[in-house]
Symmetry: C2
Subunit: 458 residues, 2 copies
């Protein structure tokens, strides 16, 4: 038997990491629920046809397909061979593979809404925290199995939803202690107006693709790409003016109004951004909301406000969340006219930010709080009964599994990072006492067992 191993790009999460991740998930979940979002869980597997064609050609190739069972049935082999030939041509054939692992949470959500729209109450607000799978080449920070954390509100065009989502980002990051984050916002309508200004909506995709690379390649290369994509000098100069807008939010709004405020779409986009900037109640401190006209959010289906949450500049991690408004969630599944807006949290990166800035509360990593020593049959029977009553008070306890040298039991507590040990030996048994030792401070005291309460271990 060869040494066991994990598939590339997947991870085991041991106790401490699970606890820290749960801390992030629980914080996000609680905030989602405070804002009236409802939990949804969809299966890991979807029918292949539900997923195919939704993520572009490159995306389709990264979908993990599941091999049908029963291919060794002799009656079906002829057909299976013929079907497999089609798989070799890059096609998907039900006879070989009917199902696949979900690639994101949005398409399964759309599929759910399309299947259940008659029963759902709109606007429908759902959140979903589940793993997804992508056959990407694994690299630092990129996994083949990872969690997504989405909240979407569908069936409403109200900008109030965008305000709520901005507040959700703020509540979550503030609660996690990531208070130096930035929430960058823009509107697709602003980008559309820029395209119009440059001579027509047909340029919007070219402009968006190029602008989206600004962070990575810099202004000069963006200009070169725009030229390559057929934009002329005058158009490129307009875009440069656009990209050079700076200042605080108010100043930026003034400059963008001067540039595209005369266009209908531009005016609408500006109004959206103003509404969001004025209404997000980001407490009374310096607002993390930053208008960023260079924000484009790739080539996706967004139509209005777009969001990108950035990690504090001191950690070089970049985006830790994003989202935006879309016109049509379920049209692909035959149910048109369901607009919506949604956001997502990047949990793996948030985890890295919190590790780097040491933001996890100390007690998050603690498993067992108290170890009762096992010093013989009668002693451990007494220990056992006290352990059970501490558990009833919510204290996480263990009794060492066998009577053995104290030394060994101390070592077990230390290795497991258990904060307290309780020792009941023959003398303590006689006196009705126990020794409580704090392993961090080294301080130990003998107390009547009647005084053992959860308060000692907080």
């Amino acid at each position: 038997m060869s040494k066991p191993s994990l598939p590339q790009g997947t991870r085991d999460f041991g106790p401490e990491v699970v606890r820290k991740r749960q801390y992030i998930f629980n914080t996000i979940r609680t905030v989602f629920e405070l804002y009236g979002f409802q939990p949804l869980e969809t299966p890991a597997m979807e029918n292949l046809e539900t997923l195919m064609g939704k993520y572009g050609e490159e995306g389709d190739k990264l979908i993990f397909r599941i091999l049908n069972n029963g291919l060794d049935n002799p009656d079906k082999q002829q057909q299976a061979r013929a079907d497999f030939e089609k798989v070799l041509e890059g096609k998907n054939v039900k006879g070989i593979t009917e199902r696949a692992l979900k690639y994101d949470l949005t398409i399964p959500f759309a599929r759910y809404v399309a299947m259940n729209h008659g029963q759902l109450t709109f606007p429908f607000k759902r959140y979903q925290i589940q793993p997804v799978w992508r056959a990407d080449r694994p690299q630092r920070g990129r996994y083949r199995e990872f969690y997504q954390c989405d909240a979407d509100m569908v069936g409403s065009n109200s900008l109030l939803n965008e305000v709520e989502l901005a507040n959700i980002y703020n509540d979550v990051f503030t609660q996690l202690g990531i208070d130096q984050y930035e929430l960058r916002i823009n509107s697709r309508k602003i980008l559309a107006a820029l395209a119009e200004l440059c001579g027509g909506a047909d340029k919007m995709i070219d402009i968006t693709i190029a602008i989206d690379k600004l962070d990575k390649i810099g202004l000069d290369k963006v200009k070169a790409e725009l030229e390559q994509r057929g934009l002329n000098e005058e158009q490129i100069s307009t875009i440069e003016k656009y990209l050079n807008i700076t200042g605080n939010n108010r100043e930026k709004l003034q400059q963008i109004t001067a540039l595209i405020g005369h266009l209908e779409t531009g005016k609408k986009g500006i109004e959206e951004l103003e509404y969001l900037d004025n209404n997000s109640q980001i407490d009374n401190r310096h607002s993390p909301l930053v208008l960023d006209f260079t924000l484009a959010r790739g080539l996706n289906y967004y139509t209005g406000i777009i969001f990108e949450a950035k990690a504090p500049a001191t950690v070089k991690i970049g985006s830790i969340g994003g989202g935006g408004r879309y016109n049509d969630l379920t049209g692909l599944f035959g149910v048109p006219n369901i607009p919506g807006v949604g956001i997502s949290f990047g949990v793996d990166r948030i985890y890295d930010v919190m590790e780097e800035l040491q933001l996890f509360p100390e007690n998050v990593a603690i498993g067992t709080q108290v170890l009762f020593f096992n010093l013989g049959a009668d002693e451990s029977t007494m220990a056992f009964s006290h352990m059970q009553s501490l558990r009833k008070q919510g204290v996480r306890c263990e009794l060492f599994h066998e009577p053995t040298k104290m030394d060994k039991q101390f070592k077990y507590a230390e290795k497991k990072n258990i904060g307290f040990v309780i020792i009941i030996g023959s003398q303590e048994l006689q006196n009705g006492t126990c020794v409580v030792k704090n392993l961090k401070t080294g301080i130990q005291e003998t107390i009547p067992v009647a005084n053992l309460t959860s308060k000692l271990f907080i």
Copy 2:
């Protein structure tokens, strides 16, 4: 586009069901942690070779394999065709399928322990709550994707662990309100002694298989099967005597001692059961612990105590949990001599029991607690600010997404089962008041907005 659908045997879980399931998971998780068990999460995918050959021939056929990506690469097609021929013969070939979905939580746990045993502190106590996948024929109560909920303690032979696990069952079921459950216990050593009594250990598998069917087929058919499996009249009469043991635990122990107490293995098995019966501190009420010598737990790897938790007899649901002691968790992965004992909760069935007996607390199903009406721009700005302060106090609130007729907003609250609405109209805005209406009782009152606190909505 055809109507979207779900793969057979899989389920979407909507808001209310997710909440109820979370209630069960959280109860189990909290108890596991009180007993010192640590969380582990392993990936959905394992290398195929990790899983194959671990579940018997039938089990192997039910594993969902994942098709490798990139099979449409022209350079590899010749090889792919040859590999596929082997798949048609029922073999597994890395070129076609390297990975598979996990089939249970035990083998991934064993793989984890084998990979990390140098770093782990033994005894190692882990719990794991994750979905698994089986290509079983779907039927009522049997799904292709379902959660398992396991706790195992490895690296210790102490019976104290069995006592702890029995107590875990009791704490969980009592907290969930399923207090009429039964925890049936037996020892594989008792079954081994019975085989010895019948003329040799080689009969143990035959006897176990037949006895395991007693519940389903009755004594006569079990006897017929034993005969068919080559046991003679005298042996069958011994087994019948064994199966007919009745009474309370004390009486059963007397009878089993008379039957097999003279055999070494039998004596050991009896001691195990006595220890467990005497030491499980199932409070001071009628004990759910029932010695059941007919319990066999199939053809698995158990070697000592075996458990089966049964739903209350009033609901016809049967087993809601099970487990037992094994000699060797990781031998299959090249790390011998790690004994352990574990239990599992059947969450889908526990859910059904709780629904049937109406055991879910009423508040578990409640999402949003308070809906603020939206009655115009100024009114909703005021509502928004009060909503934010209620959220800070932990109240789950929404503001209706757009100003519209009260009627429509009431309907939304009703459909979403929201308990309270808060109305701030132009008059209330002037007076600094709001109307709080309890939708269950129909009672409404006008109060100063300053009096809005979370206490109103408990």
